[in-house]
């Protein structure tokens, strides 16, 4: 397990050096996206008004407060990623996103896009919004404001992490590996609990 301290934008070389199980912290720009952001982008065909090339995107619906023409953070946390799986290959292939941050992981087509285009899935600790919010230095921009709290957010972050490399660009998928290992133990667990037939 290696700990990496990175800065955005991420290059392909940086991403290829990350392996499943490694820990990542980074400084720089972070984009916030959610279900509706990506429905708007992909299903309703709106081009993002800002370049996402080399950038990380986090699955979030932030609580923000509007103060004059600026936005201030109240609480920014992370949501389950699996709902947004179908958008991810395009996010990586078409827009050059290099890291998806969320919880729970994504599926095969996303993993394939990560291998092909050098991208990673970084798992955040769910429920740790207090920590995430503190690591966000500023809300730099909110694009597609009418979609708030599922707009496109540009945050500036400092030492954002710890994030676990859960899907790397070499085809490894940590959640799947852990699940398979558990699956192999299940018969023994059933036996120890006196569970015989299926139900």
């Amino acid at each position: 397990m290696t700990t990496h301290h990175l800065h955005t934008p991420f290059s392909d070389d940086m991403i290829r050096r990350l392996h499943a199980g490694d820990i990542v912290y980074f400084d720089g720009t972070l984009f916030g996206i959610r279900d509706l952001t990506q429905i708007y982008m992909f299903d309703q065909r709106h081009e993002p008004p800002v370049s996402l090339q080399g950038m990380p995107c986090i699955h979030t619906a932030p609580s923000l407060r509007r103060v004059g023409d600026r936005w201030e953070k109240i609480c920014v946390g992370t949501t389950t990623s699996t709902r947004m799986d179908r958008f991810t290959p395009d996010l990586i292939a078409r827009y050059g996103v290099k890291a998806i941050i969320g919880k729970g992981g994504l599926y095969e087509k996303s993993l394939e896009a990560m291998r092909e285009h050098a991208a990673v899935y970084l798992a955040i600790v769910g429920g740790s919004a207090a920590l995430e919010t503190q690591q966000i230095e500023a809300v730099e921009a909110v694009y597609w404001e009418h979609l708030h709290p599922e707009a496109l957010y540009q945050f500036r972050v400092k030492n954002f992490g710890p994030l676990t490399v859960a899907m790397d660009s070499h085809g490894r998928h940590l959640y799947r590996e852990v699940k398979s290992a558990t699956e192999r133990r299940l018969p023994e667990i059933y036996r120890s609990l006196g569970i015989t037939g299926g139900s």
Binding site: M1, G21, I23, T60, A61, P62, S63, R65, I74, C75, V76, G77, T78, T79, T80, T82, K103, G104, G105, A123, V125, G126, G127, S128, A129, A130, L131, T133, Q134, P149, P162, T164, A166, L174, Y175, E177, V178, K179, A181, T182, E183, R185, L186, I189, Y190, S192, L193, G194, I195, T196, G197, G198, S199
Partner: protein
């Protein structure tokens, strides 16, 4: 005796929602500390470090632990000598939950089930969820507030097994649920299990199971033994904190029971995430409020 002022119930309902969201109960903190101590997986240890930093920041800045402020649940125990007006209390709890949302302020998550309209109040038709129980030899109103987030609530399960399936059905159901839900309920949390009752009662039992303080066992030694047996089994699965691998997959398994029908064997599972939030207040008729967990 002075007339009881129901404004107090509203203020307490608001305060409890905010307290629950910001201040993790001591038993949950202790359980997380103990879990981190026995964890040997280096990735899992990083997860625990992030968890403790989160709790510390929430303590220092009186801020939300998790952004999912959930749906509000109020569990009432009404003392036999408490001079209460139920409908007034119900009304005040709703206003209190709404005021917490607007005045803190935090994101409201309550939504119309068809139109998906979100009033940004955390309440609405049927909300907050309200449970009432009645206790003897008490003059107090005991309110337990539970903000239930969706990551864990979405992983709830209920099955009406056959009596012939026996207790093995419960055990397999629990193990399979933990296996299938993986990282989604933000482990390691509390796995609440209901056994017996009717279809609705069994789910309520599972909910009561997740609010029991970690470290407390079921008073029936046989049920208590089943709780530790399931805990050990789940913690041998290797799913680990946030499903990323490790020794600790759950802090506790709690089982609550009720008598059921001769032809029924209902089992329900309600999972609770590692921020197992709850806050309690005991209100005396003279207006004295004692806060706890």
């Amino acid at each position: 005796m002075a007339v009881f002022d129901y404004q107090l119930v509203e203020d307490v309902a608001k305060a409890l929602y905010i307290r629950a969201l910001c201040d993790l109960p001591p038993d949950v903190r202790r359980a997380l500390k103990a879990a981190a101590k026995r964890e040997t997986n280096p990735t899992a240890q990083e997860v625990f470090k992030a968890i403790f930093k989160t709790i510390e920041i929430a303590d220092t800045h009186k801020t939300l632990i998790c952004q999912d402020t959930g749906l509000p649940i109020y569990m009432l125990k009404i003392g036999s000598a408490f001079p209460w007006n139920g409908s007034e209390i119900k009304k005040r709890l709703k206003i209190g939950a709404e005021r917490a949302t607007r005045e803190f302020p935090f994101r409201g998550s309550s939504t119309h089930p068809l139109t998906r309209m979100n009033p940004q109040t955390s309440v609405g038709e049927g909300l907050p969820v309200l449970y009432c129980d009645f206790v003897e030899d008490s003059s107090r109103l005991d309110i337990l507030m539970v903000p239930k987030g969706s990551g864990s609530e979405n992983m709830s399960r209920m099955r009406m097994f056959y009596p012939a399936d026996g207790v093995a059905a419960l055990k397999k159901f629990v193990i399979d649920t933990v296996f299938e839900t993986g990282a989604n309920p933000c482990p390691p949390g509390i796995i609440g299990v209901g056994l017996g009752g009717t279809a609705d009662l069994v789910m309520k039992l599972a909910k009561e199971a997740i609010v029991r303080p970690v470290g407390q066992r079921h008073p029936d030694p046989e049920i208590a033994r089943m709780e530790t047996e399931l805990e050990d089994a789940i913690n041998s699965m290797g799913r680990g904190p946030m499903g990323l691998g490790g020794d600790v997959t759950t802090l506790a398994v709690h089982i609550e029971t009720a008598y059921t029908h001769i032809t029924q064997n209902p089992v329900a599972i309600n999972t609770q995430c590692w921020p197992a939030r709850r806050a309690r207040a005991k209100i005396s008729p003279d207006g004295k409020v004692e806060y706890g967990y």
